[in-house]
Point group: C2
Chain length 348, copies 2
DNA sequence: TTGTAAGCGTTATCAA
DNA sequence: TTGATAACGCTTACAA
C-alpha cells in the first residue's frame, strides 16, 4: 500500500508537506501543490484510514446507530439520506445496527415494562461509537419514541432521528405530527366531510397524541364540534385497524382518518366485509405513505413522511454541533418536518 | 480514553501482557490473566479501533458495499443479516452505500448502454474498502445482475450477494431461480392448472431465463407441452404486468405465473378491469413475497426470497475465504438459495 | 512467564 | 514555504 512517505519521496518534498496539501492547508507554492496532487492522482493514493483516525483529533466521522434496519420501514431511507448528505459534506459514516426487533421483539415498542432492555443494549452501541472515534452520533429510532439511552458521561454530540430524547436533552428531528394531521383534516373538511372518525395508534404514544391535537385544531378552526365517540385507538397493526373501523362504521362514520397506512388497510378489510366501497361509500385517509398504499384497492390517499428530509436535517444538525462549539448550546426542542399529502382514490 | 498502558500500570504488568491476554494468547499464569481481565472489566476498557487497525494484518473487518440501500427491497434485510452474522462471528462491519438509484436512475438496470457508469462508480467503493483495511468485501447488488466491477489488482476476498460476478471469478450467493420456479409450477399443476401463462421480467435477464428453465422443467416432468405463445415479458414494473396479463387473458389463459410481485399487482389491475375475480376466475402467482403481496386483494400467493439466508451465506463464505487460504481456491459457482412458497388467496 | 522496544501511517508542533 | 521529529495506541518480535 502506498503511503505519504512514498508520495513525498516521489515529489521530492517531506511527508508533512504532502499531508498539509492533502488536508487543505495553503502554506505552500502553487507549484508544489500541483506537483504533489498530480502524483497523488496518478498513484491513486488513499490515506490510511486507521492512521488518520489515530492521529486526528477531528476524525470527520459520523456514527449512525439504528435500532432496526430492515423491519422498520422508515430506517433505510433515513440512513441512506444521512450517508449521502454526510459524504457530500466530507464526513465518513459508520453504521451500528442494534437489530432490536430481532433481539427483543416484545421490548422495543416500549410498553411491556421492559424498556430497560433497550437502554441496556444501546449502551454498547454508544461505547462503540466512542471506540470508533466518531465526532458525532445520529441515533435513528425504529419508531417514534422518547428515548433516554445516552450514557451520562457521553461527550460526543448526539442527534436523534425519528425518535426524540427525554426532556429534550439532545436535539432531534421528528415528524410535524400536529400540523400534518391538521392539514389532512383541513383537506377532508374542504371536501365536505364533517363527521370524521379517527383510528389512532396506541393512546399513550406521542404521535397519537400530537396527531389528535392537529385533528382537534382543524375541527375547531372549522367550527366542528369534537366528538370523542368517534375516536378509536389501535396498536398500529392492520388487524387493530379493522376492529376500530368496525366500531366507527357501526356509529355511522363514513370518513376515517387512520394514523398509519397499515391500520388503513385494516379499515379497507372491514369495509370489504361490509360491502362498502372505499372511495365511494366510505372515505379512508392514511398516514406514512408506505409502499402498500399504492397497492391497496382503491389506492390510499395518505400523507408521506419525508424520510429523506429527516435524514438531511439530522446530518445538518450533527455537523453544526461538531463544527461549532456554540451551536451545541442552542435549543434542543425537536425539529419538526412536515409530511406531504398524496392524493389517491380512497377519499370521496 | 483509557489505554493498554494504563491498564498495564494498574495491574503491574507490561502492556504486551495486557495485549496478549486481550488477544487470547495463553502464555501467562491464570492469576495475571484474571487480575488483568478484572481491571479491564471494571474500567470498561475498549481497545482503540484505529490503533488496532494500523497494527493488525487481520483486521476482523468485513466491508459491505451496497448498490442501493433504500430503493432496493432486498438490500436492507440482506445487510442486516450480514451484520448480525458478522458480529456473532467476531467481525466488525463497515457499510459503503453507493446510492446508485439516486445517482443514475436509468443506468443501473444495465440496459441503456451505460453499464459502464456502474463500474466507474464501484471502483471508488472498492478502493474505500481497501483504505478501511477490510479483510473481505461483500458486494450486495440491488438487482440480480452479472457484475464485472472489481478492480483488477484487488487482493481482498470478495463475495457477491444477490448479483453475481462475471465468469464466476468471485463467489456469489443468489436465488435458486430455476428450482424455485419449478416448485411453483409443480404446485400449480398439482392444483389442476395446465395452461399456465408466464409474465417474465426482461427477456435477457438471468432471473428471467433461469425461471423459464424451471418452468419448462416442470412442464416436461408433468407431460405438458411448452407453448411459447403464452409467455410474455415485462420490465419488472407493475404497468408492464398489466399489459402482459391483457395479452395472456386474450389468449384464454386463466393461470399466470408472474416473475415478481409488482407485475403480479399489474395482473390484478388487468383482472379487475375485466371484472375477473382473482383466486376464482383467474389464478395469479407472484415471486419475491414483498410486503405488498399481503395487501393486494385477494392476498397474493408467492414465493419468498430468503434474504436472511442469503446474508448469512455471504458472510460464511467471506469468513471462510478470509480465514482459510485454501478456501479461496474452491469453486466459484454461485450458491443458490431456494425460495419458499407462501400460500395465500390468489390461486384457485 | 513477562518485559522491552520497534514500528504501523498519519498529523501536529516547532524549527529552519 | 518547507522539513524534522514526536506522538497517537496498539501488536509483535525478541530478549530476559
Amino acid at each position: 500500500m502506498i503511503t505519504v512517505k512514498e508520495i513525498a519521496k516521489m515529489c521530492d518534498v517531506s511527508p508533512s508537506t504532502v499531508s498539509n496539501i492533502l488536508n487543505g492547508k495553503t502554506n505552500m507554492t502553487e507549484e508544489t501543490r500541483n506537483r504533489v496532487l498530480k502524483v497523488v492522482q496518478e498513484t491513486g493514493y488513499k490515506p490510511n484510514y486507521y492512521a488518520q483516525g489515530m492521529r486526528r483529533t477531528n476524525n470527520k466521522t459520523i456514527c449512525i446507530i439504528t435500532e432496526e434496519l430492515c423491519q422498520s420501514f422508515s430506517t433505510p431511507a433515513i440512513v441512506e439520506s444521512i450517508m449521502a448528505h454526510a459524504e457530500s459534506s466530507g464526513y465518513r459514516t459508520f453504521l451500528i445496527n442494534m437489530s432490536m426487533y430481532e433481539k427483543w421483539k416484545k421490548a422495543y415498542n416500549g410498553e411491556l415494562g421492559n424498556e430497560h432492555l433497550l437502554e441496556e443494549n444501546t449502551a454498547p452501541a454508544f461505547l462503540e461509537a466512542e471506540a470508533v472515534r466518531a465526532d458525532g452520533v445520529i441515533y435513528v429510532a425504529a419508531h417514534g419514541r422518547i428515548l433516554d439511552c445516552v450514557p451520562n458521561d457521553y461527550d460526543i454530540p448526539v442527534v436523534f432521528g425519528y425518535g426524540m430524547s427525554k426532556d429534550n436533552i439532545y436535539k432531534s428531528v421528528v415528524i410535524d405530527d400536529s400540523n400534518s394531521s391538521e392539514e389532512i383534516i383541513d383537506y377532508l373538511i374542504s371536501r365536505g366531510h364533517k363527521k370524521i372518525g379517527v383510528i389512532g395508534g396506541k393512546p399513550d404514544n406521542f404521535h397519537t397524541m400530537w396527531r389528535m391535537e392537529g385533528y382537534k385544531d382543524s375541527l375547531k378552526k372549522n367550527n366542528i364540534k369534537f366528538d370523542k365517540n368517534i375516536i378509536e385507538y389501535g396498536d398500529w397493526e392492520r388487524a387493530s385497524g379493522e376492529k376500530a373501523a368496525e366500531k366507527l362504521i357501526a356509529k355511522g362514520v363514513k370518513t376515517i382518518f387512520c394514523m398509519n397506512d397499515l391500520m388503513a388497510a385494516g379499515a379497507y378489510d372491514c369495509a370489504r366485509k361490509k360491502d362498502l366501497i372505499v372511495g365511494k361509500d366510505i372515505s379512508i385517509f392514511g398516514f406514512d405513505n408506505r409502499e402498500i398504499s399504492e397497492y391497496l384497492y382503491p389506492t390510499l390517499s395518505t400523507s408521506e413522511i419525508m424520510l429523506e428530509k429527516i435524514g438531511i436535517k439530522c446530518c445538518e444538525l450533527i455537523i453544526e454541533e461538531i463544527e461549532n462549539e456554540d451551536f451545541r448550546n442552542t435549543k434542543k426542542e425537536p425539529y419538526r418536518i412536515m409530511c406531504e399529502i398524496t392524493h389517491r382514490d380512497s377519499v370521496v
